[in-house]
Amino acid sequence: MTESSSMLAVEVWRGAARGAFQTFRVPRRRHQTVLDVVTEIQREQDPTLSYRFACRVGMCGSCAMTVNGRPRWTCRTRVSEAARDDGTLRLEPLRNFTVVKDLAVEMTQFFDKWRDARGYFEPGANRGGDFAVVPPASAARQAADAAIECIGCGVCYAACDVVAWDRDYLGPAALNRAWTLVNDVRDAGNAARIAAVAGDSGCQCCHTHMSCTSFCPKAIAPTYSIAGLKRAVVRAALKGGRR
């Protein structure tokens, strides 16, 4: 079943910021994912290859890499859909991240920006109150639901040209998370959150290229979340709120 009919030529980034591509020959197999290829290289050919994965089934988001120039979850990307016609694969670490080694990147700055965008729930002072009733069909809840499934894989951040230009830009994932909280009627931190996403590196920097939306493996549209934040920021500014 898994007998190969041909060989893949897999160019893998080795090193950190400085490095070079190393080519491996890997048997091509039916239903093979890109993560299968990386794992086979590490286990059969070069145990020093560094990469990151956990669940292998598209739940954790830790195996994201650049596959033939596109940021993708390698566990959910079949070789048959990603390889070039000549059977080559080029694997690089995610763009816009600091490379730790080979295909593993440093995620600290990415998650620091979630914090900077105040992408965390603020319960307020009413902790002894009754449960909040949130109608699932309400407009705010539906807006939050549309963006809530993000698992923080970093694909959108790697796809974003504005992050590439301006390393201070909060990025699509952090802003998408902030948007879900802006639409959470229980949250008590929106004044500070709107101020946080309205700064010089905030939502207004987005050029609406929609790369984040195009590449998100969860089919979330951070571009629309960011557009919602832009409207919220303008409303707050016109009301004389914090800038």
Binding site: V162, W165, D166, A198, G199, D200, G202, Q204, C205, K230, V233, V234, A236, A237, L238, R243
Partner: protein, 108 residues
């Protein structure tokens, strides 16, 4: 870009979209049969509507262009901070003064 700059850039963009269209259409219409400087000045001297239109145009440009340049500089260079804002504020004032001076020259 702060919220105030963001709103200012969008509002002036809306003004300029209309103003530039009127400006270009007027040029194309006015010169269709040839036009001299004297004929232009004869039409613009004392014309309040003309002066008001171009004064609004100039103010919108003086707000819009420096904000856009600030965004470009911040995206393409590491330059940030008060010095950048000060240089672009001076650029805005220069645009405003030169533009209004030009409007007055053909109005008064």
């Amino acid at each position: 870009m702060s919220a105030v700059l963001f709103v200012a850039q969008r509002v002036t963009a809306a003004i300029l979209a209309l103003a530039v269209a009127v400006h270009l259409a007027t040029i194309l219409y006015a010169v269709r049969g040839g036009l001299t400087a004297g004929e232009i000045l004869a039409r613009t001297h004392g014309n309040v509507a003309f002066a008001t239109f171009y004064a609004v145009f100039v103010v919108a440009v003086a707000i819009h262009a420096p904000i856009g340049l600030r965004n470009i500089v911040r995206e393409w260079t590491p330059w940030r901070g008060v010095a950048l804002d000060a240089v672009l504020a001076v650029f805005a004032i220069v645009l405003l003064v030169l533009g209004l001076r030009a409007v007055m020259a053909v109005y008064a």
